[in-house]
């Protein structure tokens, strides 16, 4: 078992993988409104998310920011959220990074599939913006209770 430690939640970098710039903006606004001021990195497809996490492709050689929390949309071009989740959970370096799936549907099959792949939290993006903000606010709560693996 790797050493787990309760990280200072302000140190956590949030990677937001979201292809809809509107959603990304709204998520960011909601996070800030909920006083979550962590560093936020936004990418627009699954490949870019993996490049960031593995320091590959366009992000090869970049310094790694850690610890990290991933907010993952499912419906993305190039590689979708499922593929990103699969790659992350199959790799020792990213296996323990907490993943929050954000998606537009609450289809039980989809929820099951995500949890089956190892996602930690599944959040539906409600059309209702108040509820949407509420969902994002819960992320702040999640940030404060989740255990981040040392050195991830």
């Amino acid at each position: 078992m790797p050493q787990l430690q309760q990280a200072d939640k302000r140190e956590v970098t949030i990677l937001l993988a979201e292809d809809d710039p509107g959603h990304a903006t709204l998520i960011e606004k909601s996070l800030r409104r909920a006083h979550i001021s962590n560093r936020l990195i936004t990418v627009q497809d699954g490949q870019a998310a993996l490049d960031y996490l593995f320091r590959e492709g366009t992000r090869a050689g970049e310094e790694r920011l850690r610890p990290t929390l991933v907010l993952l949309d499912l419906n993305m071009p190039v590689l979708d959220g499922y593929q990103v989740l699969e790659r992350m959970k199959a790799d020792e370096r990213t296996r323990r990074i907490p993943v929050v799936v954000l998606t537009t549907t609450d289809d039980p099959r989809e929820v099951d599939r995500c949890y089956g792949l190892g996602c930690n939290v599944y959040v539906t993006k409600p059309v209702d913006y108040e509820r949407f903000s509420e969902a994002v606010r819960k992320l702040g709560l999640f940030l404060s209770i989740v255990a981040f693996p040392d050195g991830s």
């Binding site: 499922y82 549907t105 099959r109 059309v127």
Partner: protein, 573 residues
């Protein structure tokens, strides 16, 4: 001889006597020998006579015992001898026949036909060989005879008449006729058969018979086919399979070899269902007879049908996916619309407080315009946007729900419909009491189905029945059902406002609502119910008369789990 010469002649005399005695002895021996010979001859004659008697008796007995009737006619054709067997054959005593001619025993026509033939033979003194003729029995029925005879002659060579036999061949003729009929019947059946018939030797697999249809199917003449064997009429790559099917049929283990590919003379292939079984031919040859039914068309039709079914399955899957993905993807933009509308509102709030501070610095016209824009125009626009977004979201949710109903797992179990109806009525108790509706629940069967689905179907139809009663008329709702073999049926009948004929197509259509729009609803309830009924191997039917009432009949399969309900999970993002 001289007696006076006795003294000197005595010796001579004595010699003579001796000679005479000698002669006498010889003669006596000869006589004895001859009479012995005679006696022997006589004995032989006696024995010959006995033998002749015995032979005649044997011959007579033979003549009288054989099944054939033996006769003799003189040169005028008149019977001079007739063996007693005639009585068994024609019913006449021999003495009734003697003195008559054979033509007297025949029907007139037959006599006329035969007379020239016989006269010609007699004129040429030729033998009669197996002449077929028909005579009348004493009781009148016809007897077919086969006549053979030889001419006999006086020592000087004159024709004395004919001697011969008549054999009753009536039974043989009947058997022959029956056999010919039977052969003809089989020939007609075999040649007229729409199926190819092929007989092959079980051992050598060479063909022994092919009917015309078989020849047509394969494009060979029968002669050509008889030179071929099983291996010549099937494609090379199917021979292994054909051989094993052939062997099973020879052993009698199976009759039908389905869809065997068969090779025509021109190299094209057709498919045949071959039903075959063992048969033993006249010579004892062990064979197998096969009936070939050309199923190429059927096979082609089946393949076509399967292709259609696959296409349909694919199209259906695409529709399901489409509904799911569209409703799923349409949501994304709505989140933005709603989210940024909210953001705009909060920005407007900021501007509003700034406007209050800025107003004194503006002229009257500017004040009015700024106020109208910020406090009327923008909020109104935002309201419309929000209302539209809300409606759009409702539509999407409805389509999404419908798409899920077509994909969700159903859990089939025995469901007591009575309980389902009762619990739906309990839920409507308030409206039922308020509107004083009389509800009659009759006998209801058990159904095999998904409990939740049944609750949705029943709940939806009952809610409609209660909601769409005719105001001012005491409501009456009747629920009953029955199980009939493979189907379970129940109905909900009301005396409500009914549905106009022209509105009927809207009843099960998406987002369509019929009649007066005084009850809230999204127009999806019956669509969901119908989708669920389909998944139970059934359907919902609506019969209605405007102003009189409506009956919804729900039909579900009694064995819905056997309907091949496929709800494989589909990928979606």
């Amino acid at each position: 001889m001289a007696v006076d010469t006795v003294p000197e002649n005595v010796s001579a005399l004595k010699a003579e006597v001796a000679v005479l005695n000698e002669l006498l002895a010889v003669q006596e021996r000869v006589v004895i020998e001859q009479s012995a010979k005679l006696e022997h001859t006589l004995q032989e004659l006696r024995e010959a006579k006995d033998a002749a008697n015995a032979s005649e008796d044997w011959l007579r007995r033979l003549v009288e015992t054989v099944n054939d009737w033996v006769w003799e006619v003189n040169c005028s054709g008149v019977y001079t001898y007739v063996s007693p067997r005639v009585r068994d054959i024609l019913g006449y005593k021999p003495e009734e026949v003697v003195g008559r001619t054979p033509f007297d025993l025949m029907p007139q026509e037959e006599a006329k036909r035969l007379a020239p033939v016989v006269e010609e033979l007699i004129a040429a003194k030729k033998p009669m060989l197996s002449i077929e003729n028909t005579c009348a029995h004493k009781d009148g029925h016809l007897v077919v005879l086969e006549t053979s005879g030889l001419a006999f002659f006086a020592p000087d060579g004159t024709l004395m008449g004919y001697r011969g036999v008549d054999r009753d061949i009536t039974a043989r003729k009947q058997v022959e006729k029956a056999l010919r009929g039977s052969q003809e019947r089989y020939r007609v059946i075999s040649e007229g058969s729409p199926h190819g018939i092929l007989i092959a030797d079980s051992e050598t697999r060479q063909f022994a018979y092919a009917n015309p249809c078989m020849c047509r199917l394969l494009g060979y003449t029968e002669k050509e086919l008889l030179q071929l064997g099983v291996a010549d009429i099937h494609p090379q790559d199917s021979l292994g399979h054909v051989a094993s099917e052939f062997e099973s049929q020879v052993r009698g283990e199976k009759a039908l070899a389905a869809e065997l590919p068969c090779l025509r003379k021109d190299g094209t292939v057709f498919y045949a269902d071959v039903t075959a079984g063992p048969i033993i031919l006249y010579g004892g040859q062990e064979c197998i007879v096969g009936f070939f039914a050309d199923v190429t068309e059927r096979k082609r039709a089946q393949e076509k049908l399967k292709r259609y079914a696959d296409d349909l399955e694919r199209a259906n899957e695409e529709v399901k996916q489409f509904a799911f993905i569209v409703s799923h993807d349409l949501r994304g933009p709505l989140i933005n619309l709603r989210g940024f509308t909210f953001e705009l509102r909060s920005e407007c709030a900021t501007l509003d407080s700034l406007l209050t501070a800025a107003l004194p610095h503006l002229d009257e016209e500017q004040q009015r315009e700024a106020t109208a824009a910020l406090r009327q125009g923008i909020p109104q626009a935002l309201e419309f946007i929000e209302a539209s977004v809300a409606r759009m979201d409702d539509f999407i949710n409805a389509v999404l729900k419908l798409s899920r109903l077509g994909r969700n797992d159903l859990h089939f179990e025995r469901v007591n419909l009575h309980d389902v109806v009762q619990s739906a009525l309990d839920g409507l108790a308030h409206q039922i009491e308020e509107r004083q509706v009389r509800v009659t629940v009759g006998r209801l069967p058990e159904v095999v189905g998904d409990r939740t689905a049944m609750e949705q179907i029943v709940g939806n139809i009952l809610t409609n029945a209660v909601n769409y009663l005719e105001p001012g008329r005491p409501g009456e709702i009747e629920v009953a059902g029955e199980q009939q073999g493979a189907e379970t049926t129940f109905f909900v009948r009301d005396n409500g406002r009914g549905i106009a004929e022209s509105d009927m197509p809207k009843v099960f259509a998406l987002f369509r609502r019929a009649g007066k729009q005084d009850v809230k609803g999204e127009g999806m309830g019956l669509v969901y119910a119908q989708a669920l009924a389909y998944r139970h191997g059934g359907y919902i039917r609506c019969d209605s008369e405007l102003g009189v009432g409506t009956t919804f009949t729900v039909v579900v399969s009694s064995h819905p789990e056997e309907q091949g309900d496929s709800n494989a999970p589909t990928a979606a993002g």
